[in-house]
């Protein structure tokens, strides 16, 4: 049982993951842009954060940088995923402290769920 924050601007994708995780009895918080995602993270202090990169208002990388600045959220594992899997973005995300970088297109919902659960157990 974990508390998972999904910061994702595409509502359908957010809903797909929320559905899958809720089915496994996880508590899911959805945020549809970077700004609200950062706010939700600070308020709820989730166990794992799933963070998209290309988002309105505040990009995922900016959110990540902010999360790592704030002591309460600095230690939360953040999985960054994106369809824009460019080398420099991957490198940047890793540098900022993302625990994992995943390419969205190559990911099945089940795989994501498995990944998330592996971090909750820890």
């Amino acid at each position: 049982m974990g508390k998972i924050l999904i910061v994702e601007d595409d509502p359908l994708i957010g809903k797909v993951y929320a559905t899958r995780l809720s089915a496994d009895k996880h508590q899911v918080i959805l945020a549809d842009n970077g700004e609200s995602g950062l706010k939700a993270a600070k308020e709820n202090l989730p166990d794992v954060i799933i963070l998209d990169i290309m988002m309105p208002k505040m990009s995922g990388l900016e959110v990540l940088a902010e999360l790592k600045k704030f002591p309460g959220t600095a230690k939360i594992p953040v999985i960054v995923y994106s369809n824009l899997a460019r080398e420099n973005e991957i490198a940047q995300a890793k540098k900022l402290g993302a625990i994992e970088f995943l390419a969205k297109a190559n990911l099945t919902p089940q795989q994501l769920v498995n990944k998330i659960e592996s971090y909750i157990k820890k």
Binding site: D10, L12, T19, A23, N83, L84, I90, A105, Q110, Q111
Partner: protein, 716 residues
């Protein structure tokens, strides 16, 4: 001391001087050493003659007369050795000993009483008389000419085989010798034999010329203008001969006529000698005096030859038309004292250019082509104002204000006119000026032609450079544009792929959620369609991925993120995902791998390659099986994917890994969708990670793809 003694003494001094020059300047060689010996003989000979003539009593005379005959024995002996050795030959020892012994013998006989010389008599007037013994008549008389003759022969023989320089040197030596010895042997050997002693001093004087010639030949290595020297020598010899004969005859005849008595031979000789001195000093003296008087009376006189060579030097030193004309005109005007000068360059019946010395300002307006045309068409050349009859030409010259016109003509074409102004002195053009300008005109023409040609070439090369620069600029521009377009394209592809991938991901996620039963129960038929939709969507995702990869490869932005990772989980995952490709086909898929295979590669790219190759095999195989095995081999991981598909035609196998090549042309009716990029991408990615890819295929039976990736290097 009489005049003859002075001559002999002079010759002695000059010979000593030449000997010193020869000794100090000639290279140290055996041949030259031999010649120095000859010079030594000559010097001794002259010395003996001087003292012999000046000896007051019979005993001293007898001593010096012996010396007088001893020293000449060295001359031919040294010379024959020189002849053998020159320029760099070896001397046979036997010859050497023979010549030395012969010389010693002759020398000894000269000193031995009553052998060569038996005695001397001093008459109250006239030359001393020498009495010769048996050795003189039988040996001495032959010894000297014979050795000289032999030397001649030896040198002549060499003459034919030697280099031009050595030939010239030999020529000089022989020439001098011929002149000198003809006199010397006649006056000093033949005449005294018959009791005529009045000329026995002549040889000493003439031999000086020989020594001079030889020294010049050997000391001065590069002999310039041998012909000139030969010509001068011949002409001088002739002159000398003619003058001597004339004077001797006139002295004899006139002397007889006026003095009514015999003229002594000494008088004749002195007179001839004096006349020769007058004859030979006349020219240089005249020239010298002329020079001085010219300097005083004619300040503006110039030397035509000097000025011509100076001008030739100037016009041949530059190809730049302006410099050429300016500097040569400047020099010409200064030297000839002409007020002004202009060069008109003509082309196609117009004045193309007006060139003048720096101090003047050139304009074409000043010259009217109609006036110039009259001057061009004149046959007379050059045109000089003062020499022209009244008429159009004179008119034209007056109009333009010039005094002299020289045509610069190449064959029939007049390329220009040389216009010169008035002489500064106000004089008319002298014949010297006209001669100079007549000689100068053709040279000037050639130089200007060359300069014009050079100008043309330069202009051409400038135009060419401009053209090339322009073309280069255009190319650069085009290249820049292309670069921009290419980068736009990459950006476009990159963004489009991302935009495409987002909805595709959402679709894939949604369908899989439904298929996995998270959205409630679905019936079998609906599941079938959803499966199909899911697969097609997956293919679309792969397509977009490939496009993105191509874009990265093309723009050189392909980067690899190397890590060490285990292959097992990836193979499991990919195989699991690809199982959907099997739906509806009677194809079995089996895969196996060695446990704990760790490679060093880019994980995402390795995954893409596996998806691509295995996916292809599943896609193109309609029945039978696809088996995928992974094993380690020689530091690599070998992936082999064997299918029982249609196989690939040998012709197509070569094309397979190229961009946009697909091989479904042979699989009639079996065409499958795809970009034809997959294998090209796989090959590029594998090569980038130090791997490789190849295949074995039998058409109609199936294909096995192989690819390798480097195993992780074992650490300790």
């Amino acid at each position: 001391m009489d005049f003859i003694s002075i001559l002999v003494f002079t010759s002695l001094v000059l010979n000593i001087l030449l000997g010193m020059v020869f000794y100090s300047r000639a290279p140290r060689k055996k041949a030259y050493f031999a010649f120095e010996f000859t010079i030594f003989g000559i010097i001794g000979w002259c010395l003996s003659m001087f003292f012999y003539r000046e000896a007051p009593d019979i005993f001293t005379t007898l001593f010096w007369v012996k010396m007088l005959y001893l020293f000449p024995t060295f001359i031919p002996a040294g010379f024959i050795l020189f002849g053998i050795l020159f320029p760099n030959y070896k001397l046979n020892k036997l010859y050497f000993i023979f010549i030395v012994l012969l010389n010693l013998l002759m020398g000894f006989l000269c000193l031995w009483p009553r052998a060569v010389i038996t005695g001397v008599a001093i008459p109250p007037t006239g030359e001393k008389i020498i009495y010769f013994g048996w050795a003189y008549y039988y040996l001495y008389l032959f010894y000297i000419p014979l050795l000289f003759m032999l030397s001649y022969l030896i040198l002549f023989k060499k003459f034919r085989h030697e280099t031009p320089l050595v030939r010239q040197q030999i020529l000089y030596v022989l020439m001098g010798l011929t002149g000198a010895s003809t006199f010397g042997i006649t006056s000093n050997l033949i005449l005294p034999t018959f009791g005529y002693f009045k000329l026995n001093w002549l040889g000493q004087v003439t031999l000086f010329f020989w020594v001079g010639c030889a020294t010049y030949a050997i000391v001065k290595h590069r002999l310039i203008n041998i012909r000139l020297v030969v010509a001068r020598t011949v002409s001088y010899t002739f002159l000398m001969f003619v003058l001597s004969t004339f004077y001797i005859f006139s002295l004899f005849s006139l002397g007889k006529l006026f003095y009514q008595e015999n003229v002594t031979s000494l008088q004749i000789i002195i007179n001839v000698f004096l006349s020769l001195i007058v004859a030979f000093t006349f020219q240089p003296l005249r020239r010298f005096l002329e020079k001085i008087t010219d300097k005083i009376f004619f300040h503006d006189r110039y030397n035509t030859e000097e000025l011509l060579s100076e001008l030739t030097g100037i016009i041949s030193s530059t190809l730049i038309l302006k410099n050429l004309v300016q500097s040569s005109l400047n020099r010409l005007l200064t030297k000839t004292k002409i007020e002004k000068g202009t060069l008109l360059l003509l082309e196609h019946n117009t004045i193309k250019e007006v060139l003048q010395t720096k101090t003047e300002i050139a304009t074409t307006e000043k010259f009217n082509y109609a006036d110039i045309e009259i001057l061009i068409n004149s046959v007379r050349q050059p045109l000089i104002l003062d020499e022209l009859p009244e008429g159009s030409r004179k008119e034209a010259l007056r109009k333009i204000g010039y005094y002299f016109v020289g045509k610069l003509q190449v064959k029939e074409k007049v390329i220009g006119l040389l216009l010169l102004g008035e002489k500064l002195s106000g004089d008319i053009y002298s014949s010297q000026d006209i001669e100079l300008l007549t000689i100068l005109a053709p040279q000037f023409t050639v130089a200007i032609e060359n300069a014009l040609a050079y100008q043309k070439i330069q202009k051409f090369s400038e135009t060419l450079k401009l053209e090339v620069d322009h073309a280069t600029e255009e190319l650069r521009h085009t290249n820049e544009k292309l670069r921009q377009v290419s980068s736009l394209k990459d950006e476009f592809v990159s963004l489009t792929s991302h935009e495409l991938r987002t909805p595709l991901t959402a679709i894939a996620g949604s369908i899989s959620t439904v298929l996995d039963g998270y959205a409630g129960e679905i019936d079998k038929k609906a599941k079938e369609f959803l499966d199909g939709a899911y697969n097609e969507n997956l293919r679309l995702i792969r397509l977009v991925n490939n496009l993105l990869n191509i874009s990265r490869i093309e723009s050189g932005r392909l980067k690899f993120n190397f890590t060490d990772f285990e292959l097992g989980p990836i193979i499991d995952e990919v195989s699991e995902n690809l199982k959907s490709e099997l739906v509806g086909k009677k194809v079995t898929y089996v895969y196996s791998y060695e446990p704990k295979l760790v490679v060093t590669a880019d994980q995402d790219k390795a995954r893409e390659i596996i998806i691509n190759i295995v996916g292809n095999a599943l896609k193109y195989t309609d029945q039978g099986s696809v088996s995928f095995t992974v094993s380690s081999q020689n530091g690599f991981v070998l992936f082999s994917i064997q299918d029982t598909g249609h196989g690939i035609h040998p012709e197509d196998q070569l094309k397979l890994f190229k961009k946009f090549e697909r091989v479904d042309s042979h699989d009639t009716g079996m065409a499958k969708g795809g970009t034809g990029l997959g294998l090209y991408i796989c090959r590029t990615l594998l090569e980038g990670m130090g791997g490789d890819i190849w295949l074995k295929s039998e058409y109609g039976k199936g294909t096995t793809f192989y690819f390798i990736l480097p195993l992780k290097l074992a650490k300790n």
